[in-house]
Symmetry: C2
Subunit: 482 residues, 2 copies
């Protein structure tokens, strides 16, 4: 049972085949470190965490996961070519009167703190751009030699006209790009969409290095070509990022890879959608900017992981306070279900549940193997919760079956990390026994016969609070767990 992934390069779902047997080599574009990480970052990296966890725990792959840290070269105006404006890190550091590397040090550690708090697995390696200047210079030298780059006044540009099909990956046409007014009118460039590999530094610039072309710093796109291949080799399986990276960042990586190796490097390009907040793009000026730190003051990591995985990674998701509150309720429901399973002590030999469990496992895997269709994977789990609750209500789930459901949920949790298996073993105040439920239903029926509707309804409401739902029909009242 192979997994299919949507490959941005081909605009198709493709059956995944790894380069090395049972090893996934994956590179994901990391954070540009100049401020605190926010829930937009969380959306992307939780989704990649789920991808990697699923490959590891369900598909049995060894993982080599590299995620970079951008600490130099990412300019403030990255909407088009990405070569105009100031270096984001240096600009913020100057405002704060800090050395840029101190800013990076501080916010890297804050990023790790909050990503850890969201239970996002660490990659195997987290290389920094600033630690690979020498390697970037080697790449530039080779691209100059190969004729894919040119120098003007201490700046080196990539010559997109030399890479046949530049733009194809991002569905862009070179002639249209030429008219795109968002490109800076840089007289040095032969084509407006040519992009910088090396940028000449002004004398007061701090983040700069010596080079054969004078003092300068690398263009943003170069680091990812260099660090992905340094640690994963000249061909690797998956390159991930956010949809905003498709152009220009990943298009330019592909061009650089070709300019250096003269072949493609990445087999599957994966992109996560944009997270909206209250229906708008998140932005500090819009007042809908939520850092992970702020989020965690009000809500749990599990609720965010549930919310994000309940939509599909390629579908834009809208974060609202009410959506996160719904997520909290959903998780509590499953945790109550887990507690119920853990308490089952019924060893009668029945087999009502086997088919339900088998179907669920199959549906879950089918969903996940279909381009990580997490909403559909969750639907299979909700089906299990509903059906198993019905069986528990009828006292028809054996301890053995409950354990196999728990085993499956434990495995699911290695991927999603949202459930709590270590709930208090002491009696829950809200816990209600089957006999008690049936007694209360009988009492309610008597009250209804006596037309004491309000008192009868109070019983129904109290049971509902304890997770027990009643349904009345002509043949009587049945109940099931929520």
């Amino acid at each position: 049972m192979a997994i299919k992934l949507y490959n941005t390069a081909t605009r198709k779902k493709e059956t995944f085949k790894s380069i090395l047997p049972n090893t996934l080599k994956i590179y994901v574009c990391g954070v540009t470190i100049y401020d605190d990480v926010h829930i937009g970052h969380a959306f992307s990296y939780i989704n990649y965490d789920i991808l990697v966890n699923y490959f590891k725990h369900f598909l049995g792959y060894d993982i080599v996961y590299v995620r970079n840290i951008t600490d130099v070269g990412h300019l403030t105006d990255d909407s088009a070519g990405g070569d105009s404006g100031e270096d984001k890190v240096e600009k913020r550091a100057t405002e704060r009167k800090m050395h840029p590397m101190e800013l990076v040090y501080t916010y890297s550690h804050r990023m790790w703190k909050y990503f850890d708090a969201l239970n996002i697995s660490r990659p195997n390696l987290e290389p920094c751009a600033s630690a690979h200047i020498l390697e970037m210079q080697e790449w530039i030298k080779k691209m100059l030699n190969n004729g894919f780059a040119y120098e003007v006044n201490g700046n080196i540009y990539y010559d997109i006209s030399k890479f046949k099909g530049y733009g194809k990956f991002a569905n862009k046409n070179i002639d249209e790009l030429e008219k795109d007014t968002r490109f800076e009118n840089d007289k040095n460039k032969r084509h407006p969409a040519d992009f910088a590999l090396w940028i000449k530094a002004r004398p007061e610039h701090i983040l700069k290095w010596t080079s054969p072309w004078g003092e300068g710093y690398p263009g943003w796109h170069l680091e990812c070509s260099v660090m992905s291949t340094k640690y994963l080799g000249d061909r690797f399986d998956i390159h991930g990022g956010g949809i905003e990276h498709i152009f220009p960042h990943h298009q330019n990586e592909i061009a650089q890879n070709y300019g250096y190796y003269q072949h493609d490097v990445v087999n599957y390009w994966v992109h996560t959608a944009m997270l909206m907040v209250d229906g708008k793009k998140m932005g500090k000026s819009l007042g809908n900017f939520i850092t992970i730190e702020e989020f965690l003051k009000k809500h749990s990591a599990e609720s965010l992981r549930y919310l994000f995985s309940s939509g599909h990674y390629r579908k834009p998701q809208n974060y609202t306070e009410s959506s996160i509150m719904d997520a909290e309720v959903a998780i509590e429901r499953i945790n109550n279900f887990i507690k119920r399973l853990q308490e089952i002590d019924n060893d009668r030999d029945t087999s009502y549940a086997k088919e339900i469990i088998d179907n669920t496992i199959e549906n879950f895997k089918n969903a996940m193997n279909d381009d990580l269709n997490t909403p559909s994977a969750w639907a299979s789990i909700w089906f299990l919760v509903k059906e198993a609750n019905r069986l528990i209500g009828n006292n028809q789930l054996t301890k053995e079956e409950a354990n196999s459901v728990l085993d499956f949920l434990q495995k699911v949790n290695l991927v999603f990390k949202v459930f709590n298996f270590e709930q208090a073993t002491t009696k829950d105040k809200n816990k209600i026994q089957r006999a008690e439920i049936e007694e209360l239903i009988q009492k309610r029926n008597e009250l209804r016969k006596q037309k004491k509707w309000e008192e009868a309804d109070l019983i129904r409401l109290n049971l509902e609070k304890k997770g027990v739902l009643l349904s009345d029909s002509p043949s009587g009242t049945s109940w099931h767990y929520e």
Copy 2:
């Protein structure tokens, strides 16, 4: 009131004068990352934490503290020249079948975790050697140009004969060094004590970079010259490290700095002594190797900080289980004292304590200003505890005086970080009121008159458990807090 520091370069205590007004620029040699940090690391970095905290909170300096991470170039045999054996990081990574940078990533984060757990303040910057290869190559080029280095077969060596007075810093004589059999018999070297700036890599070596001299990696000593000056400038105040760094590491840094700048870079060289465990040098083979993780399973961070600061940083310290237990008792005594101070509610107008407090503050500062004489600084605090306890016993310490003692201890704690000011405000079970103490003493005296020695002694022992010590004299029984 200026501070004096012992300068290894002059073998004298010198009055400290910073290069920039009220700014301390300090570089400390950090950890070579290939295994877990141990209490030997803790000894050194807690002492530097105390130094930096004292400069900041008592002397009013702004701090620029740089501590490096060695992730390449530190060879297994660093006893003499440091150029023989294998790269420590690469060797361990190969054993573990990991990429060397994954090993570094894993253990860096473990180092931060345990240093944080010991409350060791973070430096402003923690640069890695592997992130400064380009800068190191620039240094080598300039040293070659300046005539301080030579190339043999893709290796670059520092020519110690070109640096007049090589060996002086470490009290070594060049002619004696020539006979030191610990130096590897490297035919490439003109003098056995010449040391590698760049080491040619074998083809299978992973941690290597291109260079004008072929593929290789930097010698260990180079990174500290390069990173200290990159972030602190070509002249800075303090360079710290352990006593084991004096030769060859710091001697070679001095030589490199001269080879590059033709002047001295460091004004004060500070070195912490060696930590012994159970009277022996700590070593895995001796079975007396204690990681910080293991230490913290049994004892508190505060106890280690107290223990290490109760000796002087330049005096070898011997760690034993009983010494750490004594430290725990000492801290508890001070914490009890703090609780007692916090509970004082005596607003009579007295001035018994003023002189004691003033003397203590002055003695504390004098001790710390005398080359961070922490044992003597602690003696001043114990004097305060004893004298203030006496006044409390006599009900002669006012709330205002208690608060000024607390203020002083709060400030001291910014340096040492051992006290607990947030103790339970609920009544302590062990707490005993003055009236009760006096009642019990009277009862004991009566029992003694009745020659009921055992019963009388039981009262004494019970009071002792609660921190109240009795002294009998011909004029009667007096008591004081422990």
